[in-house]
């Protein structure tokens, strides 16, 4: 099974990245190619349902799981069998966060490997940037 890993570092503290990873309602703000997310599964499957950009009639139920050690959120697509494991590690020197992602691509989707690498890399950096916006140390006061 093809797999790949990617990672980046953000100055935002773990809490800010964590809030984005655990709030599927905000996935469209950083996950490239996702237009909307419904907060439940579909036909009794999955925990949330994601809809790709431009495909409002193509529901993709996903299961969300955290591993026993914490720090890692796994999003498994129940349609394509793609698995995204997002991992957070505090960076004590900067009080920032290292965000890592491990992606498993099923054999029958192997032709999408390069495309997925690109999407995931962009999403990773968008996630880091969005987390910085929530960082109280750098973010401007939110408008009332």
């Amino acid at each position: 099974m093809p797999t790949f890993d990617d990672a980046t570092t953000t100055t935002a503290p773990v809490e800010e990245v964590w809030k984005l990873l655990y709030d599927p309602g905000r996935f469209p703000q950083w996950w490239q190619g996702i237009e909307t997310v419904e907060p439940q599964g579909r036909d009794g499957r999955g925990d949330i349902t994601m809809y790709p950009d431009g495909y409002p009639d193509f529901p993709m139920p996903q299961s969300l799981r955290a591993d026993a050690s914490g720090r890692q959120v796994t999003v498994s697509c129940l349609v394509s069998d793609l698995v995204f494991a997002w991992r957070l590690d505090p960076v004590p020197e900067t009080d920032g966060t290292r965000i890592g992602v491990h992606v498993e691509v099923p054999e029958h989707e192997a032709h999408r490997l390069a495309g997925q690498q690109e999407v995931v890399s962009a999403s990773l950096r968008a996630l880091a940037a969005l987390a910085c916006e929530g960082d109280a140390r750098v973010a401007p006061p939110a408008p009332g």
Binding site: P13, V14, E15, W18, K19, Y22, D23, P24, G25, P39, Q40, G41, D43, G44, R45, D47, I48, L64, R65, A66, D67, A68, S69, G70, R71, V73, L88, P90, G134, A136, P141, A142, G144
Partner: protein, 1038 residues
């Protein structure tokens, strides 16, 4: 000066003035009893001893009246002689019995015997007198025997021997002794008369014939042969029980004081084998019993691998005969029948049926509570002394139960007296003692040292009359060990050249003289590992053989049975037996004993009958599961599988035990192995195996997907059968439907339920499973009303099983709460009858507390939490205590007790409470922030992000709550703009649709945590809290 003479009719002398016996027999008897039992005694104990059949108040009034009469007899110094405080009474006097003991110890036999004017307290026939009289008679007999040995002429020896026989005309050893001495004195005809009278007495009074030893003696007499052994050890030394306790005055006093204390305690008596633990503890029990206490004892089995609660089974049997009838409404006799099946019968209960079967964890809780009830009953009217001998060999479950009951000793007049040897080490015993101490329980620890030389000398003199050099040799060889001293002295008195080098030599010599039948009895007793009961003995050997074995003096017959006088003697006898003979004896015992399956298994293994042992071990495992001893059950089954590898039935039982132990990996491995061992075409057996697996996964292991998988596998096997078993099919369908419902497989659940409908009507078992499956199916539809009604059906089906009743009522309570019907939810949590079992009572109180908080009934909630803590502490189960910390912590945070809340939640998290850890950490972080500890709060928030998150943690609400707490941290730091921004951010999350419905919340929590959710998340309520904080921050803008 008050002198009381007990050795004959009671005589009381004050300053040499003989006090006349008064008209009041009670006052007279009271003086006799107090003189016989030196020291001070609780009034209640004495009153209960003399007036046992009346109310305590009446008994105490009668005691006061008797004391008034007694004081009048004693004259002007009465207050100093008959001492009475508010609680205790005692007599300050000297007695002839004390003189007797002292003279005996000093070897002044003539003087000691001269003190005996007649039977002890000859003018009384109360039970307490008879017991004391027998003990004294035995000691007097020993002294007379020694005097006969030392008599200057045969005629003088005959007189001493006659007097000895007069003490107990049924004493065969005394009769043989007299016969021998009459022959020595040239009176053969008189010797035959002694035999004839003895035979007549034995026939008419006991219905038995003289023993082999006596018949042999008279045969020798007829043929004119001299006695085969002129001096038989057992006949020339004091009977075992009559040896004085020497050199242990301080220990005895301490233990007697503990036995009379109003508050319960644990006493641990440690020392090498033979150092005198048994002698001392038996003295304590005898004296405590004479003082009015209720006593019972038990000893660990020596064979290893005992059934769980073996000690308690023996203790309860012993105690049963001493107990007054329990309240007819009490359930503890029936509950304890799980470990002592004869208990209800012994207590004359109408029903001896076992309680309804429940899962092991609850079986254990129920058993433990029943044991506490039994102890409370046993000490309700008098002190209770319980002896646990040789706890270094005890089974772990017995020690656990002892630790549990000891936690409840406070305020009860109970002494648990434990004896142990330093080896083998038992960490469980150390843990028991340390825990008891740590919990503030009262504890006495006594290490028995070797006896000083002077004490050994006194002991040897009291046992046998030896020449000075022989006595010195015995004392040297004993090296302070009283058992060795006694046995060496007995052997030396038997004519040995010197003291035997070891106990083994003593025992070998004694048993070597026995007839084959009697030797067989001794060998059976040696390998039995415990005393044999009278019934077992009756099945194993004729009474003549038993009497023959008794002649060795190595055994101690008692009311319940027969065994070696000391465990070391039994060990020595066993060590002397050749291996082949041992195996034969073990096989005989396996066929005759009425013990537990575990004990039978042990004998079968030692007999080399491994295949039969495997069956017995399976039975032992089933017994263990019945009393909640899962670990022991696993050990029994693992051992059985060593004897019969790959046996599918054993493997299935093992899988079940692992499942009940919460070990899903081991359970699955054993289940797979069982299935691999079953033939592919054996569809019926394979279906049963899969259904059993499905039930574990729907219950103890709570893994809905696997339950569904196993149920499907069972259904596939059943398809291959023309007429599948209806119960197996129904269970597979019901459990499968449950699994499908919980995992969200709607179509599967519906299909299975449709097939299940066709099997109606159901029996109770299947009715419960079916209603449960339908309830969860309704939850999947978010139809809480329907689910509520289905769970109501499970209440009816649950019947008397407390775990099912709990599940049914709690599910109803949770759904009623989710529907907003809080009063109804409270009612459900209140009426659930779970028999007071802590693992079930504790969460019920927690649910009530949670509901009461939401109803604004804070004081009642606080009381419910106190009840929850009390139930958890009663159980001593750490995970329950951690849950209570969590519940109290959440409550404290809710009512504004922030620092206390933070501390309790920290303890709950440290204690690994089975709760949502991120939610608990968030509550703690909020408490810290509101308590003006922003740095600590922030650190706690960081920990939230490092916790694993599952569905039961409600991940959809964690983000909003974490953001809310971030606002509280900012506020605590005075950063009001940031606080406002965080609050608005939190409000925005709460306004979005949540990702899980109320029913899904309930499902997730039940499945992941096994803990009910009282009500679901209420976004509107949470949003209102955020807005309240925002308004407080910026009242003008909101």
């Amino acid at each position: 000066m008050l002198r009381v003479r007990l050795l004959g009719e009671l005589e009381v002398e004050v300053d040499t003035r003989l006090v006349p016996a008064p008209p009041s027999r009670r006052a007279w008897a009271l003086l006799g009893w107090l003189a016989l039992h030196p020291g001070d005694h609780p009034r209640g104990t004495v009153a209960a001893r003399f007036w046992p059949d009346v109310l305590d108040t009446s008994a105490r009034a009668s005691l006061r009246s008797a004391m008034w009469s007694a004081r009048r007899l004693l004259g002007r110094d009465a207050a100093e002689l008959l001492v009475a405080t508010r609680d205790r009474i005692g007599l300050r006097c000297a007695t002839d019995l004390e003189d007797f003991d002292a003279r005996l110890a000093a070897g002044e036999l003539e003087a000691a015997v001269a003190l005996c004017r007649g039977p002890l307290l000859a003018d009384f026939d109360d039970d307490w007198v008879l017991e004391a009289r027998d003990r004294h008679a035995e000691r007097l007999a020993a002294a007379l025997t020694r005097l006969a040995d030392q008599a200057p002429t045969p005629a003088a020896a005959v007189e001493h021997a006659r007097r000895r026989l007069a003490l107990d005309p049924l004493d065969e050893a005394a009769a043989r002794d007299l016969m021998d001495r009459l022959v020595d004195a040239g009176e053969r005809a008189a010797a035959f008369s002694v035999y004839d009278r003895l035979g007549e007495r034995l026939r008419t009074q006991l219905g038995i014939a003289p023993s082999g030893a006596t018949r042999e003696a008279v045969t020798r007499l007829r043929v004119g042969r001299p006695p085969a052994q002129r001096v038989a050890p057992a006949e020339r030394v004091a009977p075992a029980a009559s040896w004085p306790l020497v050199g242990r005055d301080a220990e005895l006093a301490a233990l007697l004081a503990a036995a009379a204390a109003p508050d319960g305690m644990l006493a641990v008596l440690a020392g090498e084998g033979g150092i005198g633990k048994t002698r001392l503890t038996h003295e304590v029990l005898e004296r405590a019993a004479a003082g009015g206490a209720r006593t019972a004892g038990c000893a660990a089995l020596e064979l290893g691998g005992p059934a769980p609660f073996t000690l308690w089974a023996e203790l309860l049997r012993d105690l049963a005969g001493e107990l007054p009838p329990p309240d007819p409404a009490a359930t503890w006799p029936e509950e304890l029948a799980a470990i002592a099946p004869s208990l209800p019968r012994r207590l004359a209960r109408a029903s001896d049926g076992l309680p309804v079967a429940i899962v092991p964890e609850l079986a254990r809780a129920r058993l433990f509570e029943a044991a506490v009830d039994a102890i409370e009953h046993a000490c309700a009217d008098r002190p209770l002394v319980l002896l646990f001998e040789d706890v270094h060999l005890a089974d772990a479950a017995s020690l656990e139960l002892l630790a549990y009951t000891a936690r409840r000793f406070a305020g009860l007049p109970v002494l648990a007296l434990l004896t142990l040897r330093p080896a083998p080490e038992r960490p469980e015993v150390d843990a028991l003692v340390n825990t008891h101490r740590a919990r503030g329980g009262t504890l006495i620890e006594v290490d028995l040292p070797p006896l000083p030389r002077g004490a050994v000398d006194a002991l040897v003199r009291s046992v046998a009359t030896l020449a000075a050099d022989a006595r010195e040799q015995v004392i040297d060889a004993a090296d302070g060990n009283p058992l060795l001293a006694v046995e060496s002295a007995r052997a030396a008195a038997g004519g040995g050249a010197g003291p035997p080098p070891s106990l083994q030599a003593v025992v070998r010599a004694a048993l070597g003289r026995l007839e084959p039948g009697a030797r067989r009895v001794a060998e059976l007793a040696a390998v039995a590992g415990r005393d044999l009961t009278r019934r077992e003995l009756g099945d194993l050997a004729p009474s003549d053989d038993v009497l023959g074995a008794l002649d060795t003096g190595l055994f101690a017959p008692h009311q319940e049975g027969f065994g070696f006088r000391h465990a070391l003697l039994r060990e020595a006898a066993r060590a002397n037996l050749p291996e082949a003979r041992r195996r034969v004896r073990h096989e005989e015992l396996a066929g005759a004993l009425r013990g537990s399956a575990a004990e039978i298994a042990r004998h079968l293994r030692l007999a080399g009958r491994d295949d039969e042992a495997a069956d017995a071990l399976a039975g032992a495992a089933a017994d263990a599961l019945g009393v909640g001893a899962v670990g022991e059950a696993i050990a029994f089954l693992a051992e059985a599988l060593e004897l019969r590898p790959g046996d599918p039935a054993l493997l299935l039982d093992l899988a079940q035990a692992h499942a009940w132990n919460g070990d899903d990996v081991a359970a699955q491995q054993a289940l797979d192995a069982a299935l691999a061992a079953l033939a592919p075409g054996d569809h019926a057996a394979r279906a049963v195996a899969h259904v059993r697996g499905a039930k574990w996964y729907s219950g103890a292991l709570c893994h809905p997907q696997r339950a569904l998988d196993e149920a499907r596998a069972a259904l596939r096997e059943l398809q291959a059968l023309d007429e599948p078993d209806r119960d197996v099919l129904g269970t597979a369908l019901a459990v499968g439907a449950w699994g499908a419902g919980v995992t969200g497989s709607v179509q599967d659940a519906d299909a299975l339920l449709e097939r299940l409908d066709a099997l109606e009507p159901f029996d109770r078992e299947l009715g419960y499973e079916a209603a449960n499956a339908r309830a969860f199916r309704a939850l999947l539809d978010d139809d809480l009303e329907q689910a509520f009604e289905r769970f109501r059906e499970t209440v009816t089906s649950a019947q008397a099983a407390p775990d099912r009743a709990y599940a049914a009522w709690v599910n109803m309570a949770c759904i009623a709460a989710a529907l907003g019907r809080l009063e109804e939810a409270l009612e459900c949590a209140t009426v659930a009858d779970v028999r007071g079992l802590p693992p079930l009572v504790t969460p019920l109180h927690a649910i009530r507390a949670s509901l009461l908080v939401r109803l604004g009934r804070i004081d009642e909630a606080r009381a419910a939490l106190a009840a929850e803590r009390e139930a958890a502490e009663r159980s001593g189960i750490q995970r329950l205590l951690a849950l209570v910390d969590h519940d109290e912590g959440q409550f404290a945070v809710a009512v504004g007790e922030h620092e206390r809340g933070a501390a309790l939640l920290a303890r709950a998290l440290d204690g690994d409470a089975a709760v949502s850890r991120p939610v608990a950490r968030l509550a703690r972080a909020e408490a810290l922030a509101r308590a003006d500890q922003p740095d600590a709060a922030e650190a706690e928030l960081r920990r939230v992000t490092l916790e694993p998150v599952g569905p039961a943690d409600r991940p959809h609400v964690l983000v909003a709550r974490l953001t809310h707490v971030q606002a509280m941290v900012a506020l605590a730091r005075g950063d009001r703009p940031l606080a406002a921004r965080r609050l608005r951010e939190a409000a925005a999350v709460w306004r979005r649709p949540l990702s899980a419905t109320g029913a899904a919340d309930l499902l997730a929590n039940l499945v992941d945590l096994g803990r009910p959710t009282v009500g679901t998340v209420e976004p509107a309520r949470e949003l209102a809290r955020v807005q309240d904080d925002l308004a407080a921050l910026d009242p003008l803008r909101t």
